[in-house]
Each structure stands twice: as structure tokens, then as C-alpha cells.
């Protein structure tokens, strides 16, 4: 069962949302339950079970001591990296993109007296669909952590890692991006295992992403990028290619 958590300091709104959620769950017979409807951040955090994937409805304009909607969302993300965050806002002008990129927030609901019920049930339906889809095809993810900023990158998207020109910086290449983070190729090599091949001192390439190898000029291509190939890398690559005919 998936737990739903709700936090809003306006009693009327909170009750409205809770009712809408419970009605939808009952009608559609979802495997969900409103575990907690809190007026403050601390109350909500106390109720959250660590390590379980939940769905959270949070007020953006929440004022509870140090907490606001963003900070509460961040704390929840830390405890529940794969949970679903939905924000409730009084104004349509919230910094929504910021919530999306930094908290991977799923959606937001505007507090309009007549609209809030239908909005909540529509939103819950979308969440339910997504959770079902995720359960059917879980993707293995590479978690890139730079202190507190965390990005999840599907492992199958990674083309290769490359040392950047600045010391200790690594570039991660995917078909549609290049990211820079602090790390070491040696560490990554041991962590990622044999799906990735250390073709060169400065390159760690996904084995199934190699498109072409130029043995003569010590180069190989992954996702249209040129990577270097060392003598030791060649030996490794030959061995792997020999194994799979």
C-alpha cells in the first residue's frame, strides 16, 4: 500500500483535499491510504516512514518556523528519493520550474474553491498511472550525488565517463547531455562493474554503447563521440569481444 501525506496550515483547504483524496481512493479502489494530514512540517515529518515510497501533497506557502514548502520538499526527498511530490499553491505564479528541477515535483494544484476537488482527483489518477507503469518496468539508475544535489540518471542512458580538464572533475555523457561532477574514474570503475570498460586512463565507456573501434588509430566511438583507446584498453576490449562472438 502507498501512503499519502498531506501538509497544509489552512484547516479548510486541508480538509477539502483530504476528502477529495479519500473519495477518489474509495471510488477507484486504489491501493493507497491518507496516512497523515498535518498542519505543520514537523508533524508531517514525524509521521513519514523512512525508506518507504510515498505520495506527498504540500503547501508551497507553508509557514512553520524555519520550514517552507521548498525546504520541506527537500527534506522529504532526502528521506524518500523516489516519492511523489505535489504542491498546493494559492498563487499561480509560484517558481514552479524551480520546484520541478530541484525536487522533481510531479504537479501542482491551485487553491480555487470550486476547482480543488476535481484537480486533486485528476492528479491522484495520474500519479497512480505512473506508479503502476514504474512498477512494471523498473529502470536501473545511476545516482549522481554531489553533496546534496542528487540526480538520477537511467544507467542505460550513460554513454561514457571522461576526465575533465579540471582536476577531480568527471564528465558524464549521455545521448542528450554532458554533466560535470566531482569524482574519480577508478572509483566509478569498481562501482559500475563490467558493464563499463576502462578503455583509456581518461575514459570509462559503456560496453553496449560502443559503435565502432579504430584499432589502428587507437580510437572508438560511443554515441557519436570520439573516445581514446590505450594499449591496455585494447586488450580488455579484445577479450570482451572475443567472449561474445
Amino acid at each position: 500500500m502507498i501512503g499519502i501525506y498531506l501538509c497544509d496550515d489552512e484547516d479548510v483547504i486541508r480538509r477539502q483535499i483530504q476528502t477529495a483524496l479519500e473519495r477518489k481512493i474509495f471510488m477507484e479502489n486504489y491501493d493507497m491510504e491518507v496516512v497523515c494530514a498535518a498542519a505543520g512540517a514537523q508533524e508531517l515529518l514525524d509521521a513519514v516512514e523512512n525508506g518507504k515510497q510515498g505520495v506527498y501533497f504540500l503547501d508551497v506557502e507553508l509557514k512553520d518556523g524555519e520550514w517552507d514548502g521548498f525546504l520541506l520538499g527537500r527534506e522529504l526527498r532526502r528521506q524518500d528519493p523516489h516519492g511523489t511530490l505535489v504542491y498546493i499553491t494559492g498563487h499561480e505564479d509560484l517558481a514552479w520550474r524551480t520546484f520541478q528541477y530541484h525536487l522533481e515535483a510531479f504537479d501542482y494544484i491551485v487553491k480555487e474553491p470550486e476547482q480543488i476537488g476535481p484537480s486533486v482527483s485528476r492528479c491522484l489518477e495520474e500519479i497512480h498511472t505512473r506508479l503502476i507503469a514504474e512498477r512494471q518496468s523498473p529502470t536501473e539508475r545511476f545516482t549522481l550525488r554531489t553533496d546534496e544535489m542528487t540526480r538520477h540518471i537511467p544507467l542505460r542512458d550513460i554513454l561514457f565517463f571522461e576526465t575533465a580538464s579540471a582536476p577531480h572533475h568527471i564528465f558524464l555523457h549521455t545521448p542528450g547531455s554532458r554533466m560535470d561532477f566531482l569524482g574519480s574514474l577508478n572509483e566509478l570503475e569498481t562501482r559500475l562493474g563490467n558493464q563499463f570498460i576502462r578503455t583509456h586512463r581518461a575514459y570509462l565507456v559503456a560496453a553496449d554503447k560502443i559503435e565502432a573501434v579504430d584499432w589502428k588509430h587507437n580510437k572508438l566511438w560511443a554515441g557519436g563521440h570520439e573516445c581514446l583507446l590505450s594499449r591496455a584498453g585494447k586488450a580488455k576490449l579484445r577479450k570482451i569481444m572475443g567472449e561474445k562472438p
Binding site: F70, R74, D93, A95, W96, R97, T98, Y101, H102, T146, D147, E148, M149, S165, A166, P167, H168, H169, H173, T174, P175, G176, S177, R178, M179, D180, F181, L182, G223, G224, H225, E226
Partner: protein
């Protein structure tokens, strides 16, 4: 006078050493960090001594020019090196010329000084040539390292970046260089007992020239700061005007609002429910249109509490509004500091917004989205825009790449160049579903 093969070889080795010394000084005066990358482009420069030797043979054939032979050769070498620098450093011509002249001043001064030294200590010139050249080269490298330590190159780079006056600076440096060359030739005419004074004179002269360059660079830096300050004041005024406009709009809105309310109460009295709903909707839409958007933008801008950054973004927002590019700015929390030299950060921001604007304007519905978030001792910047052109991942980070064709995108490599000095900055780039995204996280180092 006949030239033997031995003379030619000596001449070649001598010029070669001079070129290598010049290259060392060039690295120092341009404050180059990626030394190996530049040295990889060294081989073509080695053609220059060969050309010089061949030319000197040719010049011997014209007796009228004997007097000027040295100067003509020096000038030709200077030009060859300038073109080499232009290629190896990707400089513009005048920048390359200025840098070459500066390096040549140091190199010629060193030649003069070392010639005096050799004559004093080794009067019969019997010392092996190789040893003399090796000593010469090691002195060049030592002086270059000293220049690196003294951060001379940092100041000189500042002058080179001053595009509006680079020509005057280059010509001034060329004159100084010519003076140095003349002094160098004068050595032959100085009597031995005065050589020590001459030595002193040259040393003082080269130090004075270096100080002159630093003085100019500092003055330029001060001027630039004043200009930036004026710019900030101008932008601030623009911001205040915006606030003033909001105030005026509020007053006007209040007036309309009263009228609408009067209408509402009448509609309520007569029980016109449809009309009531319509008027209410108009009230809401009117607020959003006239005030809501403006207030929203000013709150976001108010959170940008670094004047330089605010001024730049205000400028870019104005330009975007003018160009019809829809712009969204989100600054959730106040941004008070970024752990980078603030001008470097502003330059990065400028490059990224300019690129975004340019790429977006090729699309049917251009928009640019700028997010800034200050949290937990780090500042996060994200700029995204739609794009229409083809992206080539393998080439994107090369010098001069752009979606508009080679040679246009000096920006992105400049951006990378700035970030090289900041290990606490992590850039990310992505391009998916027609949206190009540049992200930059700057951690606090303290």
C-alpha cells in the same frame, strides 16, 4: 664576403634558440595555463628560423641593404611569429601582434644582456656554441617563470582583452620593441669600459617597460570598474521606473476596480448571475494582465541581490522583451553571493543568456527560461531554450562551434575557459526534445 655552411648552421641554431625563448616569453605574457596545449602547436614555428636563415642569405646578395639587414629580418620574424600566435592562441591580429611585441621586448633585452655577459667573461668567443645557447634558453625559462610568479601575464591579458584600444597598445608596444632592437644593435658600438653602464641601462629600460604595461592595465581595470558602476546605476534606475509604473498602475487599477464593483453590486441587485460571473472574470484577468505579471517579475528580480548580476539580467530581459522572446525568470530565494570573481560569473551568465537568446530566436515560439537558486552554500543556475538547428555532440565544446556554423560560437569555449579557474564550479549541458539546457552549480569554497 662568403658564407660558409658552418656560419649558416650557427645562424640557424642561434635564431632557433631565439624563437624558443620568444615562445617561453609568450606563454608568460599571456598567462597561459594550458601550456602543453600551446606547445603542441609549436612545430610550425620551427619553420620560421629556417625562413630567416634563407632570407639572410638572400639579403647578403643586396649590398645596399647590409645596414638594415638585421632590422628587416627582425620585422619579418616578428610578423611570422604574430601569425603563429594568431593561429595557436586563436587571437585576433592586433592581440597577437601586441603579445608578440611584448614577448619580443623581453627576448631582445635578454639577448642584449647575455651578449654583454658573454663578452665580459669569454672575450675570445671560444666557448662552445651549444653551451651558450643552453644557458641562454635556461635564462629565458627562468625569467618566464618569474613573470608567471609576478602575475605579469594576468595584467597583460587584461590589456589584450581591451578590444577598443588594442591597436594603440599594439603600436605602442611595437615602438618599444623597435627601441629595444636598436639598443641591441648599439652593443657593437659601445666601448668595453662603458659596457657595464649599458648593461644597467638596458635592465632599467626593460623593467620600466614592464611597469608601464602594468600601469596601463591597472588604469584600464579602474576605468572598467567605474563604467560598470555607472551601468549598474542606470539599470537600478530602470528597476525603480518599473516599480513606479507598478505604483501608477495600482492607482489606475483601483479606479477601474471601483467602477467594476459598482457594476457588480448593480448586477447582484438585479440578480444577473451570468453578468456577475463575467464581470468577476474580467476583474481577475485585468489584475493578472496589468499588475500580476509585473509584480511577479519584480519579486524575482528583487531576490537577485548582487548588483552586477541584477544589472546584467535586467539588461538581457529588456532585450528579450524587445526581440519578442518570452522570458521566464525564477529566483526563489535571495541570491547574495557567488563564490567566483563576480565579473567572471557575470561573463558566464552573459554568454549563456546570449547563446540561449540567439538559439531561441530561430524557433517559431522563442522562449528563454532562467532559474537561479541559492541554497546551502551553493548557487545553482539553469538556463534553457528551444533550438531548431542540428547539434553535434562530438564537436560542441570545440573552439568556435555553434549551431549556426563554425566560427560563430566563440562564447561556449570562452565559458569553459573561465570555468577552468574554478574547481568549485560544475557545468552541465543537455539537449533533449528540442530544448537546450545549460546548468552551472557553484559551490561555496569557504
Amino acid at each position: 664576403m662568403m658564407l660558409s655552411l658552418n656560419d649558416l648552421l650557427t645562424g640557424f641554431l642561434d635564431t632557433l634558440t631565439g624563437h624558443l625563448a620568444l615562445a617561453a616569453y609568450l606563454l608568460a605574457v599571456t598567462d597561459e595555463r594550458a601550456v602543453w596545449r600551446r606547445l603542441k602547436k609549436l612545430p610550425p614555428l620551427l619553420l620560421s628560423p629556417l625562413i630567416a636563415v634563407l632570407l639572410s642569405v638572400g639579403l647578403y646578395a643586396v649590398p645596399e641593404l647590409i645596414m638594415f639587414q638585421y632590422y628587416i629580418l627582425s620585422f619579418i620574424i616578428l610578423m611570422i611569429v604574430t601569425f603563429w600566435v594568431r593561429w595557436a592562441w586563436q587571437f585576433r591580429f592586433w592581440q597577437a601582434f601586441a603579445a608578440t611585441c611584448m614577448a619580443a621586448i623581453f627576448q631582445v633585452a635578454e639577448s642584449t644582456l647575455s651578449r654583454v655577459l658573454f663578452w665580459e667573461t669569454l672575450p675570445n668567443e671560444s666557448s662552445p656554441l651549444a653551451a651558450a645557447l643552453a644557458i641562454y634558453l635556461s635564462i629565458s625559462i627562468a625569467v618566464s617563470l618569474l613573470l608567471y610568479r609576478l602575475r605579469f601575464g594576468k595584467w597583460f591579458r587584461l590589456l589584450l582583452d581591451n578590444t577598443s584600444e588594442i591597436r594603440r597598445i599594439a603600436l605602442l608596444l611595437f615602438t618599444l620593441e623597435a627601441v629595444m632592437e636598436v639598443s641591441f644593435r648599439l652593443v657593437y658600438g659601445i666601448q668595453t669600459q662603458f659596457l657595464a653602464f649599458f648593461y644597467l641601462l638596458i635592465a632599467v629600460m626593460v623593467i620600466l617597460m614592464a611597469m608601464l604595461v602594468i600601469y596601463f592595465a591597472q588604469r584600464f581595470d579602474a576605468l572598467r570598474k567605474i563604467k560598470a558602476q555607472q551601468n549598474i546605476i542606470a539599470r537600478q534606475r530602470l528597476y525603480e521606473q518599473d516599480l513606479e509604473m507598478i505604483r501608477r498602475e495600482t492607482r489606475a487599477f483601483r479606479h477601474d476596480y471601483k467602477n467594476l464593483l459598482a457594476g457588480l453590486s448593480q448586477q447582484a441587485a438585479t440578480g444577473e448571475l451570468e453578468g456577475l460571473r463575467h464581470t468577476l472574470a474580467r476583474l481577475d484577468a485585468g489584475f493578472d494582465l496589468r499588475l500580476g505579471n509585473k509584480i511577479r517579475a519584480s519579486v524575482q528580480i528583487g531576490n537577485l541581490q548582487i548588483p552586477e548580476v541584477r544589472s546584467l539580467l535586467l539588461n538581457k530581459l529588456t532585450v528579450m522583451r524587445k526581440e519578442g522572446v518570452e522570458c521566464r525568470l525564477e529566483v526563489l530565494y535571495p541570491v547574495t553571493a557567488v563564490d567566483m570573481d563576480i565579473w567572471d560569473f557575470v561573463r558566464c551568465l552573459g554568454i549563456l543568456t546570449d547563446n540561449a537568446m540567439e538559439a531561441a530566436s530561430d524557433t517559431k515560439q522563442p522562449w528563454v527560461e532562467i532559474l537561479m537558486l541559492a541554497q546551502d552554500r551553493r548557487v545553482f543556475l539553469r538556463i534553457s531554450n528551444p533550438y531548431a538547428n542540428l547539434i553535434e555532440p562530438g564537436k560542441m565544446w570545440n573552439d568556435g562551434w555553434s549551431t549556426k556554423g563554425a566560427g560563430r560560437g566563440m562564447g561556449l569555449s570562452g565559458y569553459q575557459h573561465i570555468l577552468k579557474n574554478y574547481p568549485n564550479a560544475s557545468p552541465c549541458t543537455s539537449w533533449e526534445n528540442g530544448v537546450f539546457v545549460q546548468e552551472l552549480t557553484v559551490e561555496d569554497r569557504r
